[in-house]
Amino acid sequence: MRKIIISLNFVFFGLILNAQLLDNLSIGLESNTVWYNNDSETGDFFDTANNDSDKHIRSNSYLKIDYNFLESFTASVQIESYEPFALLNYSKSYEGTNLGTYSLNYRNSKLNITAGHFYSQFGSGLVLRNWEDRQLGINNALQGGKIVYDPVSFISLTALYGKQRVGFTTSEGEIFGFNSELDAASIFDFKNTSLEIGLSYVGRKEETTFLEPSFNELTNSLSGRVDYYQNNFYSNAEYVIKSDDAIKQGGQLSNRLVKPGNAFLFNTGYSKRGFGIDATFRRLENMNFFSERNAAGNVFNESSINYIPGLTKQHDYLLTNIFVYQAQSTVNLDTSQSGEIGGQIDLFYKIKKETFLGGKYGTKIAFNFSYWAGLDGDYTQDNPDAGILPNYEVGLLGFGKKYFSDFSIEIRKKWTPKWRSIFYFVNQSYNKKVVEGSGAMINSNIGVIESTHRLGNGKSIRLEVQMLNSDSTKHDWTGGTIEYNINSRFSVYANDIYNKGSDTNTEKTHFFNLGGSYTNGATRLGINYGRQRAGLLCVGGVCRFVAEATGLTANLTMSF
């Protein structure tokens, strides 16, 4: 009897122990597989990065495991697999199956120490941001060490050192960083007020092959920030300077064009119940910052130290994403470019229920306007024979050539408990030459109407109709989407966009997609067949070009 009790106890404690082990384990799995087809209309499958036309089936997979132990420790690994090659449009540096990131973290109330790979961000990211976006193929984690120390509740200090992840290797350049954050409001115990001050330093040290470099191996950047909030009003500002560094011109690093960079960001807003307004101004001058100087301008956004997103509204529909703006921080004397200046305004408003325009359920309105231009100034081309150094001189607040503008209004209306609609209108000007390297200014108007009907028992149907008209004979698009949710688990959809214009890449071609998804808890499987339009793929304000492709895609994500 005693033996039985002992063994039962053993089993019971074993179970608890096991449960505790499992309780501290977190696993994420993501797998994206594509079977690329030869397309009679748009051409045969070809992968320019790997010079391959044979490996039609490819898969990018990520397995991440996090384990918490002894209260304060977390161990983390991410295994990545790109087999037999990575999906189209990914950097060649993602090849094969390997350990992507690993780290060991110790945390208590005052200290947070990480060895291995880590992701860090100072301020808004203008001096440093390490992040991962699998869809974009970005993982610029630092490999090294980081210490965050909070001596008192209102001060936080960070010191870090590392080399940046590039594919399964690391950058040549070394990164040093220090950050301090002070929460001034809590010292003075302000009520309903917050005042935060931040100071950061990021240095990048990379050897150069120039025999007599006219710049230092160590490039420094500094950021100072203030963030203020009181009741319904808020405001914040950040100023960044970057020390002299060689600039890449015509695809080559130049020892003759050595300039500093700077950035200024200002944001303010006011909001109360049912109303919000927000305005942002930003000026960037020569703000590219990479862990290797020669990585400047790479199409995969690899080795970037800082984060410079395009500050425009991220639209949600297929035709509102044909012309997407990308922040311009590069110096290019050929096109008289050295940065950008501009801003955006957002306005949100809810028209109250039981009013003439509000109707029974109220009406929600969102409005956005953004405008971006080049920096106005004098640009001098390199002319060694005449003894002229390449250079540019720009004014502090001069707006130069227009790069982009976007006006949008979104109206969300609930008609009955089962029927709701969204009306969306966008007016855009897109300087194709600046953003994509060739082309002219395109002005377009885009309209979208979306309606969702609930049919009961979790069934619903969603329809979208879209139109894009432009002043260019090349772009005149129509599009539509139909989605049917059979229940909360199964969903199917079809969409298509079609260009009546004469653009050689897209004319008279249906970019259609059919697909379905199955969701159960935190597991989701999506299947899609269709043709992908060539263009900018943008996530979180960072874009990269993707080539045209046709194929069958399966995406699996699981979290435990």
Binding site: L15, A19, D23, N24, L25, S26, I27, G28, Y62, K64, D66, N68, Y119, G123, S124, G125, R129, W131, E132, R134, D183, N192, S194, E196, Y229, Y234, N267, S271, R273, G274, F275, G276, I277, D278, P309, Q314, D316, D346, F348, Y349, K350, K364, A366, T452, R454, G456, N457, G458, S460, N485, S488, S491, S517, T519, G521, A522, R524, G540, T557, S559
Partner: protein
């Protein structure tokens, strides 16, 4: 059965995020409550996330009255779209507590890859998690909240 479910439930990691007033909030401490806390990961640019939070906001008062639950909307917006959070939630008249996960530390620690993603937590443990939103699926979520409410 319920204890069985809870016994094998994952712990919320001890990660501190800021709310919109700049106050630091430890997510583990926050979820260590006998009342249900729903952690909803969203972003201002994620349409299904907004649709889901809009739909829940219409029934939120009833849910709170009946179950004492609370929804914490964790924004994963980075510095590009973070500024839009405050006007958006006010413009939408949401009553949720908002936490900022602007470099996705918590999202990464919980191995969340697609949005929207909801975690139903109780006593610091995840009792249920789900991804994606279809109109009407908030009713199923509420059934789960009721199931775990004592």
């Amino acid at each position: 059965m319920l204890t069985g479910g809870l016994l094998f439930a994952q712990n919320i990691p001890s990660i501190t995020l800021k709310n919109l007033n700049g106050k630091s909030i430890n997510v583990q401490k926050l979820s260590k409550s006998k009342n249900i806390k729903v952690l909803a990961f969203w972003a201002t640019w994620c349409v299904p996330c907004i649709n889901e939070l809009d739909a829940i906001s219409e029934v939120y008062e009833d849910w709170q009255d009946e179950t004492n639950m609370e929804l914490i909307a964790i924004s994963t917006d980075d510095s590009r779209t973070k500024k839009r959070i405050r006007p958006l939630i006010n413009g939408k008249d949401w009553e949720y507590e908002i936490l900022l996960d602007d470099n996705q530390d918590l999202k990464r620690a919980l191995n969340i890859s697609v949005l929207p993603h909801l975690l139903v937590t109780k006593n610091g443990k995840i009792v249920y998690r789900k991804t994606s939103y279809t109109p009407g699926s908030e009713d199923e979520l509420y059934e789960i909240i009721q199931k775990y409410t004592n």
